[in-house]
Amino acid sequence: MKLFDNLQKKIDKKKSIQKHYISKEQIKQTAKENSRIIKELEKQNNRKNVPEEEYLTKMRDSNNVVEFDDLHAYFFTDAGIVKAVDGVSFDIPKKSIVGVVGESGCGKSVTSLALMKLMQKPQGQIFSGEIRYNAKDGKAYNISKVPREDMNKIRGKEMSMIFQEPMTSLNPVFRIGDQLDEILFLHFPGITPEEAKEKSITMLKTVGMAMPESVYSRYPHELSGGMRQRVMIAMALSCDPNLIIADEPTTALDVTIQAQILDLLRSIKNDINGSIMLITHDLGVIAEMADYVVVMYAGRIIEKGTAREIYKNPQHPYTVGLQKSIPALNLNDEKLYTIPGTVPNPINMPNYCYFRDRCNKRFGKCDGEYPATIQISPTHSVACYLAEEIAAELAKSKDGEKNAKK
């Protein structure tokens, strides 16, 4: 009898282990399936001489620079599909700063990389959805369908990116000047080296670099973090882009240098007449810079609106929690508010609201499907069941107003 019990225990243990681990066969199967999908997507991407009609579209609103429309960006890994961006849609209007906030791993960087088509190939792919881009010449591109060759013309010239770590994004074996000139040679084929040098030095001047001529002939290791970030910004500006994507531009910098860089970005926005997509996890930076704010959680947008709406009237419990958990200056609370738990595993996301298990306001409805986005005001929308009542009330009061007018 004892022997049988022991055997039973061993089998149970094996089963419980199998629950948490993926078997070799499963990995093989998913890898096979993944490679099939990736091949198909890559084939589309690597075609040559694609007619323009295929990737030209129309903007929904001509005042927008970029429109994300139900974007899905996945990573096909052997353990399963990681839905890094899962149905994201928002607009970047002209001449504005849009801030994207969220914890690490929420998909904010992947959204920007998808826009630049710089996702880690081949496992990272734009699976479905549209990114519409309003180019300077009036054409509207559907970025997700633009083949690689044509994308090279857009990238850097029409939109450019400032990366998080200025230490690693500059090439240590080339002089600053060479790296700045390279972009000009690529995008303006007829340019002479003298002209390029002149342009680069004026670019360094615009970003407030002292002694631009000497910086031009220096190597990256001779510059400090703030100066390197200025070089990165100069590089991003050198082709007069329509849109600058700043991916955590100040995270690696000190507070005082951060203030300098933010000030610079603000003045640049006015100079180039373009828009900035600012990605950061620092709610303070967003509050100071952004006109519109998008809050992301686990690959989806949970709340978006103008900066004022998000900070003064946050609706989603996650947004509220994030704001409460900052140890802001001039606050004398005894204890900091914390959001319990961590972000769920990106593979095999649950059916219900991703934030349910960490939420302090969950109720019966939350066990249902992932909540749909609800418009509270023309610019403010939330993906939470709690907002339904508010929306209903708003609708009622609007109806009341209409009736009164009649």
Partner: protein, 345 residues
Amino acid sequence: MPKNKLNQVTNTVDQDNLAPVEKDDILIVKNVKKYFPLGSNWFKKTTSFVKAVDDVSFTIKRGNTLGVVGESGCGKTTLGRTILRLHSITDGSIEYDGNDIRTISKREMTKLRPKIQIIFQDPYSSLSPRMTIGEIIGEAVREHKLVPLTEHRDYILDVMKSCGLPPYYYSRYPHEFSGGQRQRICIARALALKPDLIVCDEPVSALDVSIQAQIINLLVDLQKKFGLTYIFISHDLSVVEYISTEIMVMYLGSVVEQGTKEQIFRKTMHPYSKALLSAVPVPDPDVKKNRIILTGDIPSPANPPKGCKFHTRCSECMEICKSVVPKLKEYEKGHFVACHLYPQD
């Protein structure tokens, strides 16, 4: 967080007016200097130094938290490491509970080690990937023979519990954890040795906002529970304000302002502290601040400017600042400032 208004940093700059050593003082740092050699001449004699920490003095009372603030390269991390004698001390004295850390022998220092612990900045690189969590936390406990081997496991599990780590993490490896959990492991490792003083070297700067709040709350709770003393090194002023009772602002290796939290944040005196405070972004779109933006970068510590080190970036720089080094002087009880804007005699 203990809000004892009597807690004050006692100044020890002036050797003659030394306040009598109180029983409550856990750490007394006097004129500590840490120079790193740079170049040498023909005879292999060092000629130039990086003055990473230059003449820093402070005292911490038991159960208090001293916040050390400054830009990168101001010597705050070096100061923290020097207190633990992870760097040798060039000059000055660090007295912990009556033991001078600079002069005691290595063997005595080893005995003292459990009492002073450190939490490092980067939880990704400060945990050995080849050891399980239980081994990481328990290694030093076993080395110092704090608990009998038979109770070892239970003790570690106890420590893990007080840091919010479930017991089944005991046999897992660091790569299985997120940044916040790793930082909890680092805290548990420091806490397992029953320390009195913990040097927290930017423990939350690598973490997300929501996780950051969890870790800060944990640190505050543990302080209450075990009566710990913290030296909290950070560049994030809002975090420092929340956790500290006293604050020290450093610039290029020397202290520019020192005082209680109230004094530093409400009655800011030094232009550098003012600029630092105004640079912190406020999470409120309606607040439009008159920001003091410092121009330029922090000068190289190998070749600091003459006179007041801050004069190259100061908005209120005068002639005297360029030649004379300002003294750190007490202007209010416990509030020290080194600036020529205020009377020096």
